[in-house]
Amino acid sequence: MQTVFSVPKVMKKDFKFTFCPGCDHGVAMRLVAEIIDELDLKEKTICSSAIGCSVFIYDFLNIDCIEAPHGRACASATGVKRANPDKFVFTYQGDGDFASIGWAESMHTALRGEKVSAICINNTTYGMTGGQHGPTTLMGQVTTTSPFGRNKEYYGYPIKMAEHIALCDGTAFSARVALDSIPHINQAKQALKKAFEVQLQGLGFGFVEILSSCPTNWHMTPKQAHDRVRDEMIPVFPLGIFKDVTAE
């Protein structure tokens, strides 16, 4: 029999994801792993992992990883890349890490056009600490620190990362994708591959924002959580490629 789908080679032997049931981190990491395999990058990859659920990428992928302090994954990735211009360097971050505590580092890494790729999981909440209000929390969304729902008076508005990053002249590729359906998962993989390729071609900063579910903190079943990504998140965070210098 022919194998149609199997575990990517770069996954650690006997790995077992420690995320909650239905969490999309596993899908995002699988896509990253598949691209590392397809582009044969394992031996030249150094990942800068961020604090939050995303930090555990080094438990699952058999690659070199430096754990950056909270919010500083892009800064550490900059250090890795400047010291090793021949390596493939990517960050794997959550929205709190990338867009809240680390927004300055993220923006300036894009503005400098650092030849690194950044992946940001947007699940509209701080997942690891139990579902608090974060930079991407939707208007009206109830979290443990927005018990009456996000309103503009107290909390302001959610950040649109992919659009902001696309505005930076140093950005070579910026896209927003989602993991709520199989077609979207396929598109997500294409976008991630592109964000990796622009780095390999030396064109600049590659960025992918991934709309993901957090069933546990949304108090939903995995299916309901994907429906929410489709019905509530995508209308606010439209999917698409916001910048692609290779298409210009």
């Binding site: 650690k12 394992k42 031996e43 030249k44 990859t45 150094i46 800068s48 992992s49 930090v55 080094y58 992928l61 058999n62 690659i63 070199d64 990883c65 430096i66 754990e67 950056a68 302090p69 919010g71 500083r72 800064a75 550490s76 990735a77 900059t78 250090g79 890795v80 890349k81 400047r82 010291a83 090793n84 390596k87 493939f88 300055a104 580092e105 923006m107 300036h108 400098r112």
Partner: protein, 359 residues
């Protein structure tokens, strides 16, 4: 600039050029007085040499770039001053836990808060005890001359790599801005093999992760005990200090960094007045030369700590003396350095009428 000839050079430039000579591959920094010349100098030199230079968005950015670069085994450095070094404390705690050979230069200004740009020594506690979280220790070297800025920058890179521990060069605005004749020479230390731990991509081996996240309590305890045992070894091998005229001294003047210059002169002046003074200066503030200070105290010598802060090293000297001798403090929080005359008259006052009739 590798030469045996003496050159007249500013402390900040000396540190920057010494970093280049030491093989620093990457410098990341953000401007702050009184150390901005380090970044200015390196912004011109590093690109010429094909090395990494980033004008970082903040000190947070800068130190975390050092974290990334040093995780790949290269020599990397940042420099800053007092209130901005405060911003780097979190990453220093990480770098210690990650065992990264990060080199940080602090050219001190006056605090607390924004303080001002005149010199001070108020960051002794911040450097030696750290402002980061958890049990951690970094190596701290305190130069007192421009020549020592060069020598200890070399040593900082070597110790950082040898022990995989962050090292801070604790200078001050006086040294940073001062011009003195100094000689660079060649980087005098051997290169350290980092291949066993440096992240270079998982080529022909499994992936390695450098992290401080601890999820197994027993493993966490063992790690901290191992790191503290390593620092014991550092203390044994690397603790350094300088002293003179202590043999027959009744009183030992103690200072660190550029205040060392004034206690040397004050000691001579006191000797001329017939007072048996000596001087002692720790070169490594961490590890601190506790043992030597205790030995001197046991011999019955009293101590006077002279520093430009409210008595930070004073506490460590007092701890080292452990009740065996008397210890006093001559200090000012910041600004004009305590002059030789001030030190001499304060020492005389401390010693009371005891030596009033000496010639």
């Amino acid at each position: 600039m590798i030469s045996d000839k003496k050159v007249l050079i500013k402390g900040n430039y000396a540190i920057a050029q010494a970093a280049i000579n030491a093989g620093c591959q990457c410098y990341f920094g953000y401007p702050i007085t009184p150390q901005t010349e380090i970044g200015e100098y390196l912004s011109a030199k590093m690109p010429e040499l094909g090395r990494g230079y980033v004008c970082a968005e903040s000190e947070l950015g800068a130190i975390n770039m050092v974290v990334g670069a040093s995780a790949t085994g290269v020599k990397a450095m940042t420099s800053s001053s007092s209130c901005a070094i405060a911003l780097m404390q979190e990453a220093l705690s990480y770098a210690y836990s990650d065992e990264l050979p990060a080199v940080v230069v602090n050219v001190m200004r006056a605090g607390p808060g924004l303080g001002y740009v005149y010199p001070a020594q108020g960051d002794y506690n911040q450097a030696v005890y750290g402002g980061g979280n958890g049990d951690y220790k970094i190596i701290v070297l305190a130069p007192s001359t421009v020549q020592e800025c060069i020598d200890y920058t070399y040593r900082a890179f070597y110790l950082a790599q040898k022990y995989r521990n962050p090292v801070m060069l604790l200078a001050d605005g006086l040294l940073g801005q001062m011009m003195e004749p100094a000689c660079f020479g060649e980087y005098p230390y051997p290169e350290v093999d980092v291949s066993s731990w440096a992240l270079k991509g998982a080529k022909g081996r499994d992936g390695k992760a450098i992290y401080s996240c601890a999820r197994d309590e027993q493993e966490h305890i063992r790690k901290i005990e191992r790191l503290f045992a390593k620092f014991e070894l550092i203390a044994e091998n690397e603790t350094s200090y300088e002293e003179d005229l202590t043999k027959d001294a009744d009183i030992v003047l103690t200072a660190f960094g550029s205040m060392t210059r004034n206690i040397k002169a004050a000691t001579r002046a006191l000797r001329e007045k017939g007072i048996k003074a000596g001087w002692f200066r720790p070169i490594t503030l961490s590890p601190f030369p506790t043992k030597r200070i205790y030995e001197l105290a046991k011999e019955g010598k009293d101590f006077v700590v002279v520093e430009m802060n409210m008595g930070q090293m004073f506490k460590d000297v007092k701890y080292a003396i452990n009740g065996e001798a008397h210890v006093d403090l001559i200090n000012r929080p910041c600004g004009e350095w305590l002059s030789v005359e001030e030190i001499v008259s304060s020492v005389e006052k401390i010693m009371g009428g005891k030596y009033a009739n000496c010639i």
